[in-house]
């Protein structure tokens, strides 16, 4: 997730606003757990299918290191498709999925060298040629902060989890398969693409703060903290942060401000950071919106919200952006250059915008490029370079296309509470029952059933891709990633509409900001099964994408 409104520790969020990206504090975005978890789960299913497929045919997979460990038992994933049996298409899908296993392991990991060398842990040192290391050869698993954190970023305890631990090294990672781990890492890392968005504040003759003071004085009790609050909270309204107002006061008393308020003050040069990255992670799929530059617009606040009814949070963000004159710096930002798409994939292309068009209006009036274009950026690079890093963009986009609020272009309507709730219940979603001493693997039978459901979903998405390939001669190794992301989003949005639009709530985002984050998030506690439905279908799309992407090289 849920990239758009990732919950962040406020210090991280604010640090990321400061001194641009280079001095950002680590962003422990909880929703990274979900972004990382979906590809991890998809890969582990691929791996299990591959092993079962080989076992069923008595054919070993590659060298012995790719064989399942002793004691491994099939999960029974080679079941028949729900279309009936025998089904040649399903059987082919199983074979293709099995083949993807080794191909994915053969991708370049694309990882930069560790930030700290050697790691504190004496058992690991830097291999040469690390960026070009095959994923399957990586000696260690990594955590989500591998690039942005300040430590080694390795995770010696990583395991695939649940039923998939049966194929993992007992007791944790020593030399296991980190492919899913790395794919998940790259998917989550897109929320660290700080250079996607650089913002400048338009020069106002009088200065916007001065203009606004008449409206504000009634609310001010602490002169020192007051100027910081709107700006700090503003970041939170956009995409994250904890306990906004309290931290604003803390900052006012901070001894060392550098990692807290750098660059926060509008009018002060370049504003960048993780909190603004996810403005590119939306795709408004509703009818009736303007779609001025793409077939489906990205974030465009004047038309934000379910049925274009803005949440109070959307309105306040729009007013804040407009009042401050916060404007995308086209030449400094990667986003406009990455996510305007003109290609021959059969999907509508972007209407190109130059520097002035991007900058004429503040972000309150700037339609941003949509999520499917973000996916295409990475995919287009991956076609040229079999490097797992590039898969991060499409994998991330498929994750966000499974998050309903990204599909109505809103920062409100329960966006953050919903995604916090998905994180809160992630282990329950993933392992069906929370892992505990009594359930060290979760609910085994339920997880197997979940894997089967994901495979059924993946089969449908695989057919979607194959149909497109059939219709586009010469693109037999390509993936219609923009179509895939868009269709996944459409189906997710339709599914929640059929269920009464349960994720969309016009009051809980305000509640989240003004009173209790926990209470607001708890609004979604009864909906874990529905959350799981969305995650599973998204994971199915990711699995189908990975199988198809593995064929590109």
């Amino acid at each position: 997730m849920r990239g758009g409104t990732l919950k962040r520790h406020t210090h991280a969020a604010l640090g990321l606003l400061g001194l641009a990206c280079a001095v950002s504090m680590p962003a422990h975005a909880h929703n990274k757990l979900v972004h990382k978890g979906m590809p991890e789960l998809a890969y582990e299913i691929i791996k299990s299918v591959s092993w079962e497929h080989a076992q069923a045919r008595g054919t070993p997979i590659g060298d012995p290191s790719h064989a399942p460990p002793g004691g491994w038992e099939p999960l029974g994933l080679l079941m028949q498709s729900d279309q009936g049996t025998p089904d040649p298409a399903w059987q082919q899908f199983m074979a293709d999925t099995a083949a993807a296993y080794l191909k994915l392991q053969g991708l370049k990991a694309g990882l930069p060298s560790a930030r700290v060398e050697p790691c504190v842990t004496p058992t690991w040192s830097l291999p040469s040629g690390y960026p070009n290391e095959r994923i399957g050869d990586l000696p260690v698993a990594i955590n989500v902060d591998y690039v942005v954190g300040s430590g080694c970023g390795i995770d010696l305890d990583w395991r695939p989890g649940g039923i998939y631990d049966r194929g993992a090294h007992p007791g944790g990672f020593t030399k296991d398969d980190a492919t899913g781990n790395v794919l998940g890492f790259w998917a989550a890392s897109i929320d660290d693409e700080a250079d996607d968005t650089h913002i400048f504040v338009k020069v106002l003759n009088a200065g916007f703060l001065g203009d606004a003071k008449g409206s504000a004085n009634n609310f001010v009790t602490n002169a020192l903290a007051a100027p910081l609050i709107p700006i700090i909270c503003f970041a939170k309204w956009l995409f994250g942060g904890d306990d906004c107002e309290k931290d604003a006061h803390d900052f006012a008393n901070a001894v060392n401000p550098i990692d807290k308020i750098d660059g926060l003050i509008p009018g002060f040069g370049d504003i960048s950071g993780n909190d603004y990255i996810t403005m590119w992670h939306f795709m408004n799929l509703q009818s009736g919106v303007s779609n001025l530059y793409d077939d489906h617009q990205g974030l465009y606040y004047p038309e934000a919200g379910l049925d274009q009814v803005a949440d109070p949070v959307d309105i306040l963000i729009m007013a804040g952006l407009g009042l401050a004159g916060m404007t995308l710096n086209e030449s400094a930002s990667e986003g406009p250059h990455r996510y305007q798409v003109s290609t021959d994939d059969g999907h509508s292309n972007s209407v190109g915008r130059g520097t002035a068009t991007w900058q004429f209006a503040s972000l309150s009036h700037t339609p941003l490029s949509p999520l499917d274009n973000l996916a295409y950026f990475g995919w287009s690079r991956f076609r040229e370079d079999a490097n797992a890093h590039w898969l991060g963009w499409p994998l991330h986009a498929l994750g966000d296309a499974s998050a309903p609020h990204h599909l109505i272009g809103s920062s409100g309507w329960g966006h953050r509470p919903f995604e916090d709730a998905v994180e809160r219940h992630w282990r329950e979603i993933r392992f069906i029952v929370p892992l505990a001493e009594k359930h060290p693997e979760g609910d085994i039978e339920a997880q197997i059933a979940q894997a089967q459901r994901i495979l059924q979903s993946a089969f449908r998405w695989r057919l979607f891709i194959l149909k497109w390939r059939q219709d586009h001669p010469g693109k037999e190794k390509d993936v219609p990633i923009r179509d895939l992301v868009t269709e996944l989003g459409n189906q997710q949005l339709s599914a929640v509409a059929e269920q009464g639009n349960w994720p969309f709530n016009l009051t809980v985002s305000s509640e989240y900001l003004l009173s209790s984050e926990d209470a607001a998030t708890s609004h979604y506690d009864p909906f874990v099964d529905k959350m799981r439905d969305g995650v599973e279908d998204g994971t199915g799309a990711i699995l189908a994408f990975l199988v198809s992407a593995a064929e590109a090289h």
């Binding site: 001095v23 020069v203 709107p230 002060f268 038309e303």
Partner: protein, 364 residues
């Protein structure tokens, strides 16, 4: 005695270079994006626009924004600039009036959508932009020649004929939006009311203060989490015993003095980081250099300490995390130029100081 700047910077940063750090390169490591202007617009053009519009002139903001829009990109049609500039002014006014509870959310949303539509129309229909620029008496962005309602109220959304919309969009209640606005305490520092524009702060020095050393200078200045871990974190060929100390970063400026008592003044330092490469002079320009990059630091007046000389103040960066971040910023660059300006709690901004120090770093 504090050793400042110049030599201190060189020595400390050279020492820092002794530590190994994550090398750049690969798809996960990209250079910073190029930026035509750090603040989105041609500064010379903006200065020219400022000069052409006296602040106390009637309709100064509108006139300024019309000129300012021409600074936002190359080859901008003057009429398009006029329309987009007006829309920016309207956007600010709509936003302000919403925050002041002078507009309902529905009126605000209608106005924002209306200006958004007209913005795109101006970009795409040159004839429309010129017609609006030439004659639009009621400022509704419908040319007078097409305007069937010539007295549209300010900021009202209109139809294509310039008549106010009969129906506003569905929107949240006024109470819900005002509750959020008030709950989030939008702006600002009352003590600065009536203040004028701050003076420009003058840079004096930017460097390292080593007077706080309690043990011989290490090389890495690791975070304290790494103390006593049996590893030589500070690269002095000895396993650490306790936490090594390190200097603080010290920034000295001549402060702003023309602001009311209690008025918050924030000092912005803009650092231009440059990399002239580490190759021999005869090999320059070097094959691999980082592009010049701007970074910003902000300090607030109440964080200032007395400066080393009369009439100066001093800001320091002393916490581990802040220092490490600062170090990370500088890594990969070997020259630094900086300047300063001030903003007060009412949003008045001083001019930039002249670019000051041109410090030679040694972080390669």
């Amino acid at each position: 005695m504090r050793a400042r700047l110049g030599g201190a910077v060189v020595a400390v940063l050279a020492a820092l270079a002794g530590c190994r750090h994550r090398p750049e390169g690969g798809p996960g490591e990209k250079p910073p994006p190029s930026s035509r202007y750090a603040e989105g617009a041609d500064p010379a053009c903006v200065a020219d626009a400022r000069a052409k519009v006296p602040k106390d002139a009637p309709d100064a903001e509108r006139r300024f924004q019309e000129l300012y829009s021409r600074c936002l990109g190359p080859d901008i049609d003057s009429a398009v600039a006029v329309v987009t500039g007006r829309i920016e002014v309207d956007t600010q006014r709509l936003s302000r009036q919403l925050l002041e509870d002078k507009l309902t959310p529905a009126q605000f949303v209608a106005g924002m959508r209306d200006r958004g539509r007209k913005l795109v129309r101006a970009e795409r229909e040159n004839e429309y932009a010129h017609a609006v620029a030439e004659a639009d008496a009621d400022n509704d962005l419908i040319p007078d020649g097409q305007d069937r309602c010539p007295n549209t109220p300010e900021l009202a959304a209109t139809d294509a004929n310039g008549c106010p919309l009969n129906k506003l969009p569905e929107a949240p209640s006024r109470e819900s939006v005002q509750r959020l606005i008030q709950g989030s305490r939008f702006l600002v520092s009352p003590a600065c009311q009536g203040s004028g524009r701050p003076q420009t702060p003058a840079p004096v020095s930017l460097g390292f203060d080593r007077s706080v050393f309690r043990s011989p200078l290490g090389l890495c200045f690791p975070s304290r989490e790494l103390c006593n871990d049996g590893v030589d974190n500070d690269c002095n060929d000895q396993v650490d015993e306790g936490c090594p100390t390190r200097p603080v970063v010290e920034i000295v400026v001549v402060p702003v003095q023309n602001q009311p008592a209690g008025c918050l003044v924030m000092y912005q330092l803009e650092l231009l980081l440059m990399d002239t490469g580490k190759c021999a002079p005869e090999e320059r320009p070097c094959a691999t250099t980082n592009r010049p990059t701007y970074r910003t630091l902000v300090f607030r007046s109440f964080e200032a300490q007395p400066g080393p000389t009369p009439g100066t103040i001093r800001f320091v960066i002393s916490s581990d995390s802040a220092f490490n971040h600062f170090h990370r910023v500088l890594r990969g660059f070997n020259r630094l130029r900086w300047r300063a300006r001030a903003i007060n709690g009412s949003g008045h901004i001083s001019d930039w100081s002249e670019p000051h120090f041109d410090v030679t770093l040694n972080l390669h």
